[in-house]
């Protein structure tokens, strides 16, 4: 899976996963507050944030496996930091990452435009929901409520993972920290074109 990966890319992916692993844990607290207010659908409102590292890592590194591996590592970091959800979280990370990876695979890992990133976010929503349906026993809930949960999660994946992920990666590229990655070259080219036309 790591065939043509450089060590530099692996370490950058791991660091992204570590940072977002911490952010994921913080959002778990927010999720618990929302769940207290709205019931189970509360998690779905912010579920997209838990897919964001897939989108960011894939968009920056642009190699097969970036989405699924980064999400899995972020989950592993949550476990290492002592999250009580334990090893099954890693399995959930793999499943969420596979949803995003599927969207990138469909473009043969060549297209990283906004709509692909949004589709990747929604892909994670779909796989994570199927997993949650089974593990959480959602079949005991009324079909209408489950449908509402699914729609909210899809929207959350599109916005909080797809759109926000692109926004964060683009902001990062503008700082110059990503200059050795394809995304950094893209941003520089855009800047040059802008200067020429101006």
């Amino acid at each position: 899976m790591l065939g043509n990966w450089k060590l530099r890319e692996v370490v950058v992916m791991s660091v992204l996963a570590v940072v977002f692993g911490v952010i994921y844990l913080l959002f778990l607290q927010l999720g618990n507050v929302l769940v207290g207010m709205f019931g189970l659908i509360g998690y779905d409102l912010i579920f997209g944030i838990w897919f964001i590292v897939s989108i960011i890592a894939a968009y920056i590194i642009r190699k097969p496996g970036a989405a699924v591996m980064s999400e899995t590592i972020a989950a592993a970091i949550e476990v290492m930091l002592g999250n009580a959800v334990g090893p099954r979280l890693i399995l959930a990370g793999i499943i969420q990452g596979l949803g995003a990876e599927a969207a990138f695979a469909a473009t043969r890992w060549k297209n990283y435009s906004l709509w692909v990133l949004v589709a990747a976010g929604m892909g994670s929503s779909v796989t994570s929901f199927v997993w949650g349906y089974f593990l959480g026993g959602f079949s005991a809930l009324s079909p209408g409520y489950v449908t509402a949960m699914f729609i909210v999660r899809l929207a959350s994946g599109a916005i909080l993972a797809g759109l926000l992920g692109k926004y964060i990666s683009d902001s990062l590229a503008r700082t110059g920290a990503l200059n050795s990655f394809p995304i950094g070259k893209e941003v520089r080219k855009a800047k040059q074109n802008h200067e020429i036309s101006a």
Binding site: V12, A17, V19, N32, A76, L81, P87, G136, G137, L172
Partner: protein, 259 residues
């Protein structure tokens, strides 16, 4: 046999298998029994502080309550269910009540298994074991360890950024939209410096001869012994025993592929 010394990979795998098995049952007895038995194993075989266990367990208790009331407010109602109580749009059926209590107990049984792992496992040993037993690429495993060590550095950097903002008179936010912009002012520089540090770390690793070769030797060897398989059988046995008792008591209710 001390849980804290068992092989982390095998412990993790057995727990995940146990959780997957529990997901098939919708009666209250199976998860309740598994929950109690797992707690017993945790405290008999593990060196676990009770206070810490309770502290980490409370959020799950809260989640279990949310599950129960969500399932009670929005239950699946099949034709032929016995209605216990009806008020406005809320219908409580005998089957629905049983299923919602089962879902709540399921959360608790998952929690007890997960806590058994979380409270008895050293994270670095877990990574070493994943490399030695599950053939996780050393490139990934050592990158994760490097990233894990960045966390305290990032905390320090956060303080520096905060100080820099304060010196320039920025950093006071009152409205909500200001506060959201504030997050960006911290997050982007933190991530940028994290990425720069990651690239430097990768260069340092390579210059010291790290190739990421899978056939490497380890300073700390994480062994697999017979005791590990015994623990594995015990954890999965807990689930099987719970299912058997529930079946004998005539409670057992399986997931039948309803959508």
């Amino acid at each position: 046999m001390l849980l804290n010394e068992m092989n982390p990979s095998i412990k993790a795998l057995s727990i995940v298998v146990g959780i997957l098995m529990l997901s098939f049952f919708f009666d209250p007895v199976t998860p309740l029994l598994s929950f109690l038995l797992t707690i017993a194993i945790t405290f008999i075989f593990g060196k676990v502080s009770f206070k810490k266990w309770i502290f980490l367990f409370l959020p799950f208790l809260f989640m279990a309550v949310v599950y129960v009331w969500s399932a009670l407010l929005f239950p699946r109602v099949d034709p032929g269910d016995h209605i216990l109580w009806e008020w406005q749009f809320i219908t409580v059926t005998e089957e629905g009540l049983e299923r919602s209590i089962s879902l709540g107990l399921r959360v608790l049984s998952f929690a007890s298994l997960s806590l058994l792992f979380a409270l008895t496992t050293n994270p670095i040993h877990f990574l070493l074991s994943l490399m030695q037993q599950c053939r996780l690429s050393p490139k990934i495993a050592y990158s994760i360890m490097a990233g894990y060590q960045f966390l305290p550095l990032m905390k320090e950097e956060m303080e520096i950024i905060r100080g820099a903002h304060r010196v320039r008179g920025a950093g006071r936010s009152h409205t909500l939209s200001d506060k959201i912009k504030q997050i960006k002012k911290y997050a982007i520089p933190l991530l940028a410096s994290g990425i720069r540090k990651a690239e430097r770390t990768a260069i340092a690793m390579e210059s010291k001869g790290f190739t990421g070769e899978p056939n490497r030797e380890f300073y700390k060897v994480i062994p697999v012994t017979k005791k590990d398989w015994l623990l594995s059988c015990m954890l999965i046995g807990v689930v099987i025993l719970s299912v058997y008792v529930s079946f004998k008591l005539g409670h057992l209710s399986l997931y039948r592929g309803e959508l």
